[in-house]
Structure formats: C-alpha cells, structure tokens
Subunit: 254 residues, 4 copies
C-alpha cells in the first residue's frame, strides 16, 4: 500500500514550511491573506488579476445582515461565552447548499459545459429542461430577497472583466441565465453565489474548494458578529422573541 502523504505544511524547531516555502523568510510579510488562500487552494501563488477576483469573491459573501448563520453564532456565543471559536464554527457549519454555499452546484454545471465544448446554448437548454423535469432549482439562480436582480452579480462580472479574465465561464453563466428565463417563462436573477462560482472557475479554483471559499469569506463576517454580540447580547432577545411568539399548544394526539 502506498503511504499517504501531505503536501501542505510541516515544521521543525526552527522553521515552518508551507507548500515548499519557508513561512518566515519567503511568505510572511510578502503575501496577503487572500494570496495565501489562493496558494493553499490552488497550489501556486496568484497573479494580481487572480488576487483581485478572489478578493472580490471573498468580500461579497462576508455579510448579509441577519442570516441563519449569524443567528447560530450569536445564540451559541450566549451558551459558551468564552469560546468564540465554537460560536463561529457553529455558524460556519450552516454555509450549506441551502444558504451561501450553492456556488458548488453552479460551478459544476459551468465546468461540465466548458469541457463538453460545442454548442453551449444547446447545453444550457438541456440543463434547464432537466432541472424543470426534476423540480430542482438551477443552482446559482433566484434569490429570496433580491428581485428582480441581485445587485452584486453585475459588479462581480465587471470586476472580473476589468481584471482581464478570459471570461468563458461568465459568458456561459449569462447564456444559462437566458435559457433559465426562457425555460421557466419568468426572469430569475443570476445570484451572487452563481456569479462567484463562475469567477472562481475563471481564476482556476478547483471545484472541491468552492464551498470552502464561502466558509473563509463568512468567517470574517462572523468575527464582526462576535464583537457586537459581546456588547449587545442580541441572542437573549432572539430567545425572548422565540418564547413569546412561537407558543406552546397541547398536542392533540397522545
């Protein structure tokens, strides 16, 4: 059996090595956190265009006000006030296929389309037909709040194009958007996670890292919630609201 190995990092008393580079002499003070996220995810250091796009993706998903993710962090912090990392961890576990973590599904569709190559519009039509048939929403489309259009999407496309990416995944996502509108006979916005799925593909982020990028992004947002919660104790208000507004009623069938 071949030995399992790791190529991420190692250390000895005098040094730490990260993917073949000395942390202290080659990385620290030379690269930003965003560049290091790219390095650890893609296995090479990014060029400025890739950094620009990754920063935009990371900033986009940091905050969206009162989400289930923020509620989880706030309420957990109320229970373990000295363990903010448990509160942040709990919130991040909810960056799922339901909330904020849907770029994965959208990226898979885009990646498969580009690999297949020919006649992208036919491919898009096919994808839409399949999703309508199986009653599964096309990932990356529609938004609970942002109607008719998610304001983040055109700005993300603009940033990517200004940075000079090739644009094939963005182009395919826009084609898919037209196919969606036509297939569902109504306009469904390309949402921010869909757009981010396309942008991350443009800069070479692997599919296996897609949802994790959202986790990193939201970690920064939750840090802000920890700081505020320690002052305002909103979790106690969430508890009170729940107790007072979701009443108990004796069960009917015992």
């Amino acid at each position: 059996m071949p030995t399992v190995k790791t190529s991420i990092a190692t250390s000895d008393p005098h040094s730490i090595t990260v993917r073949g580079r000395d942390l202290v002499t080659e990385l620290l003070g030379r690269y930003t956190y965003t560049e290091m996220v790219y390095f650890l995810t893609c296995g090479k250091l990014p060029n400025p265009q890739q950094t620009k796009v990754l920063d935009a993706c990371l900033v986009t998903l940091m905050e969206h006000g009162w989400t289930q993710i923020a509620i989880l962090t706030r309420v957990m912090l109320d229970s373990v006030p000295d363990q903010p990392q448990v509160a942040m961890g709990a919130g991040l576990m909810a960056v799922s296929s339901v909330f904020a973590g849907t770029m994965e599904g959208c990226s898979k569709i885009l990646s498969t389309g580009i690999k297949r190559g020919s006649d992208l519009d036919a491919y898009c039509a096919e994808v839409v037909v399949e999703h309508i048939a199986s009653k599964v929403p096309v990932p990356g489309f529609g938004h609970r709040l942002h109607k008719p259009d998610d304001p983040r999407t055109p700005r993300l496309f603009e940033i990517a194009r200004e940075a000079g990416v090739v644009g094939q995944y963005i182009d395919l996502l826009e084609r898919l958007g037209r196919a969606v509108d036509s297939g569902y006979r109504k306009h469904l916005t390309i949402n921010a996670t869909g757009a981010i799925g396309a942008l991350l593909l443009e800069i070479g982020v692997p599919l296996s890292a897609m949802r994790g990028v959202a986790v990193v992004s939201r970690a920064g947002g939750l840090l802000g919630h920890v700081v505020e919660e320690r002052e305002t104790h909103a979790a106690r208000e969430i508890w009170r609201l729940t107790r007072e507004n979701i009443p108990y009623e004796n069960p009917t069938t015992d």
Copy 2:
C-alpha cells in the same frame, strides 16, 4: 427596555449595506478581504500600515501542518463528505485556549499593563510572580516544538516596526519576556500567538476579537486541507493508525 439593534449589515431588494456603506458601489472591488475584516472588527477602514500588520497576523496562523485542528477537519470530512463546511467548522472549534487561540490571554496582560502606565518592569515582574504562584503558564510564552525560539516572532515584530506602529505593546511584551526568563530561571520563547496579541493591540483590534482573528486565519488553512483530503483520504489512514496502535484491553475493575 431599549430595543436591541445591530450595526453590522442590512439589505433590501436592491442593495446590501455593510456598516453604513453600500456593498456593491462603495466596498466591492475597492477593498481587500483583509481590509474588510478590519472594517467589520474595528468599525473603520484600516490605513495601509494596519492592513500590512493584520495581513501578517492572518498569514502566520494559517498553517502548522498536522495539528488537532487539521485532524478534526479531515476526520469529519470522511463522515460528511458533501458538507465541507461542517468539517471546516469542526476544525475551527478547536482554535481554543489550548491551541492557536491563546493571543487573548496575552493581550489582556499587555492591555492592562499599558492602561496602568507607570513602571512597566514592576508590572511584568508581578505578572510572572502571580503565574508562578498559581501554576498557570504565562499566555503567549513557550512552544511545544519551537525551542529555544519561535521563528515567527522576530519576523512579526520586524514587519510591525517596518509598518511604523507605535510599538508600546511590542515593547511591553519584550519586557515581559525578560521577566519570564528571569522568574522561571530558564528561557521561554515569546510564541507566535503572543506576538500576534501584541501586534493586534498595536493596530487597535479589540480584545473581544482576538481569538476570532485566529479563527479567520485558520479557516484559510483548513480550506487547503479540504482540497487535499478529497484526493488523499488521509482520514482513513488516521483511523487505521488509531485502531492498530491504541489497543483494547479488558477493564480490570468491573
């Protein structure tokens, strides 16, 4: 009772507002992820010096090879392979007072010392005497592996001084280091989390955010572990090693 409020973020169909700024038109594409972490944590946008120091702190704690944090993420991913955010969240919950999250304790000592002001060396001696008496290690000192000295610490101080911080917390930490060596009658290194505690105080990060900065940092590192684990399945090897090397023995007292 005054209403509990939040000042972090809100949204409507056409916009998202983050701490008073429009996400799409004022923040996205203009600020890096690191700058946004500072903005959400400290309530104002950083100057380049503060960004430089925060980036160094975030990069320092991203990776340290095989840690309990990485093991948790790998093993959890083996159980919920489609939920990488649960695996990352589980790992981040271990960024605790035992591992990687000790900057909080060190920062409190430094912050208290600077507030008290006069005769810093007497304060340091006092801190050391108290810790020796209560048999609690001084937070920010010593390292399991990095002996005699943590190689990250001098580089972090260098980056901060090049960036032009005032340096009062770094100075106090160095004084404390001398008091520690003298009190324990042996050399204990200022470790990386101790140094980061000082640097974050220099740039105005509140005590309530200290450990959370380590969580954000390590989130980036764990993303790399998710990508590798999906290829190598090291968690199965960890399982096998555990089964084969920690044997079962019938209990003696039933």
Copy 3:
C-alpha cells in the same frame, strides 16, 4: 399566516409541561429515559414491547470501539478540555449516512414497500436492480468488518419477535436480503443499522426520527469516551501517530 406553534414543552415558575403532561407529577420517577425518548418522538407513551425493542436498538449502536466518531470526540476534548459537550457534539455530527446513520435509507425502502403492498418479492428485486444500475449500495447491507454476517442482526430480530411485534418490516428486510444476494451474486449481510431501521418501523418510530435515534444511542457511548479520555489522553497519541506516519512531501507542481 397561521401562527407557528410547538407541542413539545412549556414551563412557568411552578411547573414544566412536556407534551401535555406535568413533568414533575406525571412523568419523573414513573418512566424510564427510553420510554421518554419514545414519548417525545412518537407522541405517545410506549407499551412494554415497544420499550423493549427501542432499548435494544439504542443499546446496539452505543459502542463500536475506535470509530471516526470516537476519534472526533477524543481529539476535540484535547482542544476544549472544559467543554465535554462540544467534544460529544462534534462526535455526534459524524453519525451520518457514511457511519452509523444509514437506517434512514433502509427504512425508506421498507416503508415504501409495505405501503405499496402487493408482491413484495417483485418490489425487492426492483430495488436491487435500481441500486445496481445507479451503483449506489443498498442501504442497510454489507459491513466493512462484520463478514460474512453482522452478529447483531439475528439477535435484534430475535428480540423483536420475542417482544411480539407484527414483523412485516423484518420479513420484508429478509426478503430484500435474499434479493440482494441474488442480484449481486454474493452474500451481503443485513447490517445492524438495516435491522434497526426495520425494528424502529415495527414500533412506529417515524422516518424523520430514524437517524436521530442513532445520535441518542451514540451519545451514551461517547460519554464513556469522555470519561476515559480525561484519564488516558489518547488524543495526544492519535496526534503523534498522525504526525509520524503521514509524512510531509514537498508539492511537485507549484
């Protein structure tokens, strides 16, 4: 919009009401924990036969030595030694469709079959063909270690029959077992989680509670691991084994 309600429990200064019964005067000291699990899950108190079967199911899944679930709890406890509930919670999160939580899938197949009614053997053959075609293992069959047969399964069937359950789900699972052996052209054991899926259906536990029963069961097992870990610190050994046996190798493609 109709108000959302809860029928689980409420309290006032002088009493706690659980599903319409006074906790202190009607439940406490009268019912066992297992009976209460049934009460909260199924909405009525169990008869002795149902209690016997539920106890058997709960006892079966409590322990299986070194599992990923136990490793997670041990390693997390090493990081947050004063928060055993975080360690147990982390372990329980791994009671998934990969490990210990597969009764859900098996139960769905059994439940659908009984609802359809006629010609159960044809139904079983159909289920096997579909799973072979989609290359998805039939849930409830096969076991990494227990070959050719899971020793827990016949004992669980025996307990249920002695308790006097109707036996229709057990019968269907045994038919399915014959169809599996025939379809795959080799013997695959009905494993313990498959058997438990059938038993829980026999006593009226809803599908939505199936995996949660495994979580309750394993919680008891993990309590034992917490007690032992606080004495032996096996997590440190798991860490050492990982560091020493999964070596770092510089990445080849940077």
Copy 4:
C-alpha cells in the same frame, strides 16, 4: 513510554466486546439504555436503585421548551435539512456551564465537602463566603424562571430517597442551601442541575461524567425537536422574528 490503551470496546468480524462483555450474547436485550449508560460511565452494571436514580436524572433534563439549545438545533436543521445529526450536535454543544450543564460545579463542591468530612455547616458557610467575595454565583442555585423554587428538585430528592440511596450528598446540598439563603440574605432555590449533581454523586457517577449526562439527556429531547421541526419549520419564523425585531442602525463611529 507505556502504550496508551482503551478499555471501552473492540470488535472482530464475528463479535463486538464492550468493557469485557459480548454485546450480542451478554448485553443486548438484557440491559436497558440507561443501565448501559451507567455501565459505560461507571465501569460496572448498576443495581436497580442506581438505575432508578439515573433514569430520573436523565428524564429531568430532556425538555424545557424553547431553550437556546432547541433554537440552535432548529436553526441548524434549516441549513442542513438532510443532516439531523449536525443539528442535534450543534444544540448539544450549548449544554454548557451557562445552560443545563452546571451540575459539574455543584458536584465538585459537594464532593470536596464529603471528602473533608468534619463540620459540614462550617464548610458550607465558607463556600458561600468565597462565592460572594468573588461575585461568582454558587453553582446549582437560583433559576431564571423557577422562583421561588424549582419544582423538580424536591421530586428528585424524593425519588432518590425512595430508591434508598445513602443521602449524604443530598444532605450536604440541603445544608448548602440553608447557608446560601443566609449568606445572600434571600432565598435561592436549589435548581434541578444542582439536585442532579447530588443524585449522580449518590450513585457513584464520576465528576468527569457529570456534564455529559446532561448531554445524553438532552439528546433525547432534541430528537423530538427534529421531528417537529421537519413539520413546522419554526426556524424560518425565528429568522423572520429576528430580522423584523432587531433592526439595523447605521453605526455612529466610522
């Protein structure tokens, strides 16, 4: 270095051994879940008196209506609807020193007192004086809702005495209660977790297992919440209530 071992469980293809007993032939169908929890925690099978007391402790903490613990489970399930074990695990992580997990602190006080032996009332007075001086509440006393008295406490004492326990820890807790009332110059109830701390000591449960017993107990309660949540989706209402009642306000100091 002596090898680290485990005495909890092991397995081979044909059997599973739990603390020296064959699971299938010696345990399954013979012992209840509660008896097995005792076995795994205390290392020996309980007598009927110990089982009665442990069942009462486990039943007491299963449910208390809308708690932060229940809110966490409900909201997490909304994010990962197919992973109920993640939702239950998240809720259980909040069984902390703030909520439901305080028996640990109370038990330590009782255990120390009995070990010291002589003049229990002087010991109680001392404990109260220390807690008043350090402004830390005496663990096991007072309750947010149950005033003047927690209705569960006298019932728990009654069950334990009927079961025939020695009663020394219960007696000491009652003495401590009188010292608390006298020291604080007002009546503070012995709460349910305090009473459970005493009962668990009476039946020989080790201090290291105390909080974990609450985790096992509440796991059963959360299973009921999972079943109900999958029908009512109360988490969406909690989210709506939070969004609509904790308003955003622009920060004043940017």
